[in-house]
């Protein structure tokens, strides 16, 4: 059977996210409860979570989560890792056996520090160095797949309903200041856990609901800059767009939103001179990164989350606030399930980014 990446696999989906802007940790149980409400939006063929602030004891180290097809692959991959990193700590990720989650690969976690000498010789900044190592493993070592690679955060995903995947990974035992999650309704059968979402690179993760029509225009453009879209999913290409614009070009997330889901030219013409100047520039500078077709994404990153809809708002997204807590979900019910009394609930307009960040971003580091 073809593996994810050897064909396009559009999906309908559910997304949910929560952040405590005071930085207070919360259990992953909350997200499991939230996503379980939207059971009907998934079809049991993929679910996953990203938690931020979950590894406070190892927050200086890159936490790699890997899938291996077999033990031999793990051995080969570890050889590669050892050539580039010091392994501070590694172990199999503890899981709970469930009748609903089957065919799991070998799942390991590594806490890593780049080898200083190797890093200096590469003439790359540290994050680029790590990103390249991740890409190398994913593209070159068959049977091994890095699905999480940030600091003090982790992605947990697999084939199954998202609430079952959450139980499988024992997320009730993790605590983080923010969580995102995803339930997948793919229109093709992915036999492979790596194809589930969130998709992450370094600390940036994406959960996405939609099927973008600009996919190949975006893909062919972003591949000019060293990215390789191996999974052929919308989520992957959007993650690379965000990584490129933020990490390599130095744009802010709000500016990224103006690239991916810009206002229509007609609307731009009605804005203030300063806004026009900026939005026209961004559209002109990155026309091939405009994303069309339905999408609702939640971007998770160190210290915050961002929700963004396509500019026609062809997928639902609801945001809410309750004190320091902020929520994003495909449906309001998923938020009410974990916080029945809310201060504020609203549906952001298409193309309007909603950013929730820690009050004290530095503290998350």
């Amino acid at each position: 059977m073809l593996k994810e990446g050897q064909y396009r696999n559009p999906s309908g989906c559910a997304v949910s996210a929560v952040i405590d802007r005071s930085g207070k940790p919360m259990s992953g149980r909350r997200m499991i409860d939230s996503i379980a409400v939207m059971h009907e939006r998934s079809n049991g063929l993929g679910g996953g979570f990203a938690g931020y602030g979950i590894y406070p004891d190892h927050k200086e180290l890159y936490a790699f989560h890997l899938f291996f097809d077999d033990r031999l692959t793990r051995k080969n991959t570890e050889e590669y890792i050892l050539r580039h990193f010091e392994i501070a700590y590694s172990s199999e990720i503890q899981t709970r056996k469930l009748p609903t989650v089957t065919d799991e690969p070998i799942i390991w976690r590594y806490f890593l520090a780049p080898l200083p000498r190797k890093l200096a010789d590469s003439h790359l900044d540290e994050r680029e160095y790590v990103a390249r190592c991740v890409n190398f493993i994913n593209a070159r070592i068959g049977g091994a797949y890095v699905f999480s690679s940030g600091k003090n955060m982790g992605v947990f995903k697999g084939v199954g309903y998202p609430e079952d995947i959450g139980e499988f990974y024992r997320l009730d035992e993790y605590e983080g200041y923010s969580w995102t999650c995803h339930g997948r309704y793919p229109t093709n059968t992915p036999g492979w856990w790596g194809g589930a979402h969130p998709f992450g690179l370094l600390d940036c993760t994406i959960v996405h609901n939609g099927e973008i029509s600009s996919y190949d225009a975006n893909r062919r453009y972003i591949e000019m800059f060293g990215y390789k879209c191996t999974l052929r999913t919308d989520t992957e290409v959007m993650a690379y767009i965000i990584d490129y614009l933020v990490r390599k070009m130095g744009l802010t997330l709000r500016e990224v939103a103006k690239v991916m889901a810009p206002s229509f030219w007609k609307t731009i013409a009605t804005k203030s001179e300063e806004e026009q100047r900026e939005e026209i520039f961004l559209r002109k500078a990155f026309p091939s990164l405009l994303v069309t077709g339905p999408f609702s994404v939640v971007v998770g990153y160190e210290g915050g989350i961002m929700a963004l809809n396509d500019r026609l708002k062809l997928r639902s997204t609801v945001c809410a606030e309750k004190g320091d807590l902020a929520f994003v979900a495909s449906e309001e019910s998923a938020i009410r399930r974990i916080e029945p009394q809310l201060d504020k609930v609203w549906a952001p307009a298409g193309g309007e980014p909603v950013v929730f960040e820690l009050h004290d971003k530095e503290a998350s580091k």
Binding site: Y7, R8, N9, P10, G12, T187, G210, E211, I212, S213, S214, Y215, D216, A217, N218, R220, Y221, E223, M224, F225, M249, G250, L251, E255, F264, W265, K266, E274, R277, E278, I280, F281, L282, R283, K284, A285, P287, S288, L290, V291, T292, G293, P294, R311, L312, L314
Partner: protein, 503 residues
């Protein structure tokens, strides 16, 4: 006894029961086909002079006329076509190079018709252009940017000069001289109204059209006809013409018959002699020389105008385009071997170059592989016949299209392919005042505006089908195309999957 070797290709069919002997056909046909036989009191026709331009058919008030391809045939021969035989007769008589006009009419394979477009069903919605915004604007020019901020952290928003088009189509280069003043006037007015651009071709810019400069691309070709300071200053962009799809490897041809005093003045050449541009630019024998000309033109215009380099689609187009993308040029225009012309040697027109679809796909791939696609925009021409061709070109990787033949057809051209004779009954490819007057520039502009507006609507509908609401997201989106009836290597070169293969 004088023997006629070449027999008339067409037959003028007149329905005597409808003809009222008004003699309008006689006045409309500058080729002198029709005449009144006063002895017999009826109209007669000299088939040998007919070029099948359909002017008489279209103007006959009683609908009495038809033109048919002759039923008279040479003995059939699968190897020796009638055209091949006639051309030999013609050369045996004249000893000269055969001349032709308009694009290559032969039965070569083409690819636009073998590309099929995708549509959204269920998993994502089509977009209704009648009810939702749909963006057809594009910008041409270098998009290479560095993100820089001022001391307040605000983005610095300077970009290289760009052309802004409301629809991704422009009127391609057709020189004053090869076409009439009224054609240029119609193109200029239409370009302005549509928010697009027309291209002067290599014959200079008539004084009276300087007012349309904001919608004019001026050409600098190997003959440098009509090129001087004010000409460059008047334009919105400057195109360096290295080659033309209809005649790669040779320069422009304008027969003396079409060089009137006004044409001569605009071109800055003497009256009454053929204007044949040199095959190469004699200051460009290599890519580094091109860079110098690009930079000279930029210097001359204060670096405020995009520079386009137009080349014919030839076998090595990838490498040529890669060189141009690094030459400082802002736009590459690629002209395919089906492209039209006012006059070209027949053998060159029909045998030199490659289809624009293949050239476009390869150039777009190559520039991406080399990471220089952002340096330039790509404009393609050479037989874009409909909005579907235009959409497919953009999905293959073009930023916009040039249309020449389609624009002339909208003005009345019936593709009789006789432009080089200087007699054009439709007032298009002629300088004869009575004929030129047949084309009303206002009416012509209206028809051009209608054509492009119709294409815009069709583009919006097809984009809507695909769930795309901006041309930016269509550009290079090859997953939206599938090939039908193509070989493996054609699919590979075009970078599209065969019809039936999923995403």
């Amino acid at each position: 006894m004088k023997v006629r070797y070449i027999l008339p290709a067409f037959e003028v069919l007149r329905d005597e029961s409808k003809c009222v002997n008004c003699r309008l056909c006689e006045r409309e046909c500058a080729n002198g086909v029709h005449s009144f036989d006063s002895e017999r009191g009826r109209m007669i026709a000299n088939d040998a002079k007919c070029v099948d331009c359909h002017r008489c058919v279209c103007t006959c008030p009683t609908g009495a006329l038809k033109i048919a391809e002759t039923k008279d045939v040479y003995r059939s021969n699968a190897n020796w076509s009638r055209a091949a035989i006639d051309e030999i007769y013609r050369q045996a008589e004249s000893g000269g190079v055969l001349l032709s006009s308009m694009g290559n009419p032969d039965t070569y394979p083409e690819f636009w018709n073998r590309l099929l477009i995708n549509a959204s069903q269920v998993t994502n919605p089509p977009i209704d252009p009648l009810r939702e915004p749909m963006e057809t604007q594009v910008r041409l020019g270098s998009g290479r940017v560095k993100i820089e901020r001022d001391e307040n952290g605000r983005l610095k928003t300077a970009l290289p000069p760009q052309l802004e088009l409301q629809v991704p189509v422009m009127f391609s280069a057709m020189s004053y001289g090869s076409v009439s003043y009224n054609v240029h006037a119609a193109l200029a007015r239409a370009a302005k109204e549509l928010g697009i651009y027309y291209n002067t071709g290599e014959g200079g810019l008539h004084r009276d059209l300087y007012g349309y400069g904001d919608h004019t691309i001026v050409q600098v070709a190997s003959g440098r006809f009509g090129v001087f300071r004010e000409y460059l200053d008047a334009a919105a962009a400057i195109e360096i013409k290295m080659g033309q799809g209809a005649k790669p490897g040779i320069g422009g041809h304008l027969p003396a018959a079409k060089i009137t005093p006004a044409v001569a003045r605009t071109r800055m050449i003497p009256e009454g002699s053929d204007a044949i541009s040199p095959a190469p630019h004699h200051d460009i024998y290599s890519i580094e020389d091109l860079r110098q000309l690009v930079m000279s033109v930029k210097e001359a215009t204060g670096c405020r105008k995009p520079v386009i380099v137009k080349v014919a689609a030839v076998h090595n187009i990838e490498a040529i385009a890669s060189g141009i993308a690094r030459s400082g040029a802002d736009v590459i225009a690629i002209d395919g071997f089906r492209g039209g012309t006012g006059a070209a040697p027949t053998r060159i027109r029909d045998n030199v170059g490659i289809p624009v679809e293949l050239a476009l796909a390869r150039v777009d791939d190559r520039l991406r592989e080399e990471g220089v696609r952002d340096n330039v925009s790509i404009v393609v021409g050479g037989s874009i016949r409909s909005s579907a061709d235009m959409l497919k070109a953009i999905a293959l990787g073009a930023d916009a299209c040039y249309i020449g033949t389609a624009a002339l057809i909208s003005l009345g051209c019936h593709l009789c392919r006789s432009c080089h004779t200087g007699i054009c009954n439709w007032g298009i490819a002629t300088q004869i005042p009575d004929l030129v007057a047949r084309l009303d520039p206002d009416e012509g502009a209206r028809r051009l505006v209608n054509l492009v507006t119709a294409w815009k609507h069709e583009l919006e509908e097809m984009m809507g089908c695909m769930g795309i609401n901006s041309v930016e997201a269509l550009r290079g989106n090859r997953l939206m195309l599938r090939g039908i009836g193509m070989t493996e290597s054609e699919l590979r070169l075009l970078g599209v999957k065969p019809a039936g293969e999923s995403m």
